[in-house]
Amino acid sequence: MSTKPRTLYEKIWDAHVVDRRDDGTCLIYIDRHLVHEVTSPQAFEALRLAGRTVRRPDLTLAVPDHNLPTTPRVDAAGARVPIADMESAQQLAALEANAPSFGIRYIGATDAAQGIVHVVGPEQGFSLPGTTIVCGDSHTACHGGIGALAFGIGTSEVEHVLATQTLLLQQSKTMEVRVEGTLGFGVSPKDVILHIIGVIGAAGGTGYVIEYTGNVFREMSVEGRLTVSNMSIEGGARAGLVAADDLTFAYLEGRPMAPKGADWDAAVAWWRSLATDPGAVYDKVVTIDAGDIAPSLTWGTSPEDVVAITGAVPDPMSFADPSKQEAAKKSLAYMGLTPGTRMQDVPVDSIFIGSCTNSRIEDLRAAAAVARGRHVAANVRQALVVPGSGLVKRQAEAEGLDRIFIDAGFEWREPGCSMCLAMNPDKVPPGDRCASTSNRNFVGRQGPGARTHLVSPAMAAAAAVTGHLADVRELVGEAA
């Protein structure tokens, strides 16, 4: 192995090369494979047709999340509630049958540990630092928050990993996103990543793996790092990374699938050795001053359309690039917004607190802190809180957060992807405007015709109780 200083990404990559072809393509070993119901049925079917098996079922974990309704899954008598949508039911049934028939561990719809795969992985200690993690889901980037090289793959690659536990890949370039300084009051990890995407653009990270460095990430909680890394893909980067440190180890130690005893000690020692070497060179460096980051949100239909909550809807002609002017015009028409309107004057119809980006316990605490003692505004038609997993839900209930939300007029739901992508019955109706803690504001993402503003959990709660996009700093005093 070379003695040249290496980045965290290069060290993880080097440790997973099975074979290097002459053309530079590498066969990379995959340590952990998460599987959900939407992107796996065609892969299992292909294995079956070719008479192939799953090489390492022990390194594979299946969890349904996208299609599951967030209404109760068992009735008073303890029986499973049937899923009304026949196609959803069929897709969920396919995973429920494929997992045991290929010998894969399965956390089913009624299991207390069920949740969104990207919440379940770290929560169970299945996701570990320094591992390669894949899933047929672009938000696999999430697991980079604990220092894993984690990225989304297509269904053909799902099949490839199931059959061989490897992938054929080209090494990515490296980008350092360094955020130094002190985050202002009311600025959350979600605001940090929205701001970063606003700076680098939706394609800024294409071809790169981002490593997030600087004191802001060192001081950020592990859950906050998961939020940041989750949205690396919205900046075009297939993966993000935050080096594992004592906070990461404290977060993972004792989790059900995490190493134990001497294995744990050996693992921690190896994980520490993966930090980027002094003098290692990134292909690109972006530096951001933490003081420049405000509570932020999106105004358009690309996650790069970011503005501070104190700002206004931009004039499409203010963009230098003619194609961006055109895109902004289309976005504003879709979003029903007029240039110059103050963001805080925009009323909302729906609130969604959830998704693999923002559905962990810290997210729910942040939203509950704003909702406590207040009520969802009369003009808000639906306000959903969807915990990321059954375990998050149980923890929130133990802390009384469910009562705070319910008393404030929110609906307290069962875990899943829910209104982030509207594959289950949770949809934003056509033309309605949603303040959402999810990750994509694409046209039709939360339902046909739905208008999405991406925000932090606290900002979603602030929008819920005021009935319009709102600056959370005006609701929660700095001294409080």
Partner: protein
């Protein structure tokens, strides 16, 4: 996978930037457990726009799509590639792609051609009324008007497309190397299998 060498015919001059995979195929079509039939939902929100290109008869079953930067961004859903294939599209021309989409395209026999914006602009103009040709053998895009744009493609991806190769089968033939890697990793990092 069907080998692909030359894609020739009409090209839909869409041109837009940041076409995400939710636009290529909305989530409500992802409940299928099959790879076929997704063409009916492809580009649904664009098709709903009055006077959109997909409605123009000369672009029906056009084998090529021309787009702007960052084509296929967002979700990893391979359904996007399947939906385009189902529409008859086997080549895309754009200045850049999301990493996941371009991989999914290649695995389904769709050629993701990368050309500079100026070349894409010229092709958008020609494609309104004339066919174009993507030749993966010579790595060129040509028009009936002497235009000839060379493009580059990763050699391994090109080989997979030209040969219609089954990557899973190719990698399974490397079983002994994978066995050796696993033995080494199990010795160095025994906690990996402890999960």
């Amino acid at each position: 996978m069907t080998p692909v060498r030359i894609v020739e015919g009409r090209a839909i001059p869409l041109g837009r930037k940041n076409i995400d995979t939710d636009v290529i195929i909305p989530a409500h079509y992802l409940k299928t457990i099959s790879r076929v039939g997704l063409g009916r939902g492809a580009f649904e929100t664009i098709r709903a726009e009055p006077g959109n290109l997909f409605d123009e008869p000369q672009f029906a079953r056009a084998p090529i799509l021309i787009a702007g930067d960052n084509f296929g961004c967002g979700s990893s859903r391979e359904h996007a590639a399947w939906a385009m294939l189902d529409m008859g599209i086997t080549a895309v021309i754009a200045p850049s792609y999301s990493d996941i989409f371009s991989g999914n395209a290649v695995k389904n026999g769709i050629v993701p051609v990368v050309l500079p914006q100026a070349a894409v602009d010229r092709l958008l103009e020609v494609a309104r009324d004339h066919p174009i040709t993507v030749d993966l053998e010579s790595c060129t895009v040509t028009t009936p008007f002497q235009d000839r744009f060379a493009f580059e493609m990763d050699p391994f991806r090109r080989e997979c497309l030209l040969g219609g190769l089954d990557e899973v089968g190719m990698t399974m033939a490397q079983g002994a190397r994978i066995d050796a890697y696993e033995r080494g990793a199990a010795a160095d990092r025994p906690w990996l299998s402890a999960a």
